[in-house]
């Protein structure tokens, strides 16, 4: 089960093994009622291990059904806290090479302060709460799960 989308008229939640379509997320949240849109994109950052090995990618695994459910609740929780017009949360599964996006969160609100606050809360809470895991893939082929 590598692809899963849930969306209402106002929220788009997507876990996908394909490249994230960030332009589509921005188009989805666009609205005449929005004055400010904040988009966060998390990408795989180049890193070097202590022994000099280079990171080549992150492999993402999700407990798909539960992750989608948690993301929908995050969206609902955000809507209780801020006056959100539309929002989109996209997250990758599978291999995400250095420089490529693994997560994108777009929030459209009437005013910018709310869009920034909701977007920041969503990415922070996603990282703490949603059952998705990353494995670091190093140039020598070794993989290390991140469970901090």
């Amino acid at each position: 089960m590598e692809h899963s989308v849930a969306y209402s008229q106002f929220d788009r939640i997507e876990l996908t093994a394909a490249d994230l379509d960030i332009a589509a997320a921005l188009a989805f949240v666009a609205s005449p009622l929005a004055g400010g849109i904040d988009l966060f994109v998390g990408t795989t950052r180049a890193e070097q291990a202590g022994d000099g090995r280079e990171l080549v990618a992150l492999d993402y695994e999700a407990y798909v059904e539960m992750a989608i459910d948690r993301l929908r609740r995050l969206a609902a929780d955000a809507r209780r806290q801020w006056p959100i017009v539309k929002l989109a949360i996209l997250h990758r599964t599978g291999r995400v090479p250095v420089g490529e996006p693994s997560v994108a969160i777009a929030v459209a609100c009437g005013h910018r302060a709310e869009a920034f606050a909701a977007c920041r809360w969503l990415i922070d809470t996603l990282k703490a709460d949603v059952p998705i895991w990353k494995k670091e893939i190093w140039a020598d082929g070794e993989g290390t799960w991140v469970h901090r």
Binding site: G42, H91, L126, P131, I132, K134, H147
Partner: protein, 81 residues
């Protein structure tokens, strides 16, 4: 009762399987079920700093009573984003 158990990430690697079914006495708690699982899959012990639980895709604590057909997931520290 029979429940389905899900392992993820390093726990899946250590268990050697992503999913397994286990038969347990009726009325067991999550904690009691996990004790049985660590006996069956000793390699998961100490693999991660802490394990959270989900029953039927809801976070649940160790005292939650399990029922026939439940899906119990062992959730290592998440690292999405």
């Amino acid at each position: 009762m029979t429940i389905t158990v899900q392992f993820f990430a390093l726990l899946r690697d250590r268990a050697g399987v992503g999913e397994t079914k286990v038969s347990l006495p009726d009325g067991m708690t999550v904690e009691q079920a996990v004790d049985r699982l660590t006996a069956q899959f000793p390699a998961i012990v100490g693999a991660v700093s802490r394990i959270a639980f989900a029953v039927n895709r809801e976070y649940a604590d160790g005292q939650t009573i399990l029922h026939d057909g439940d899906e119990l997931a062992l959730i290592p520290p998440v690292s999405g984003g």
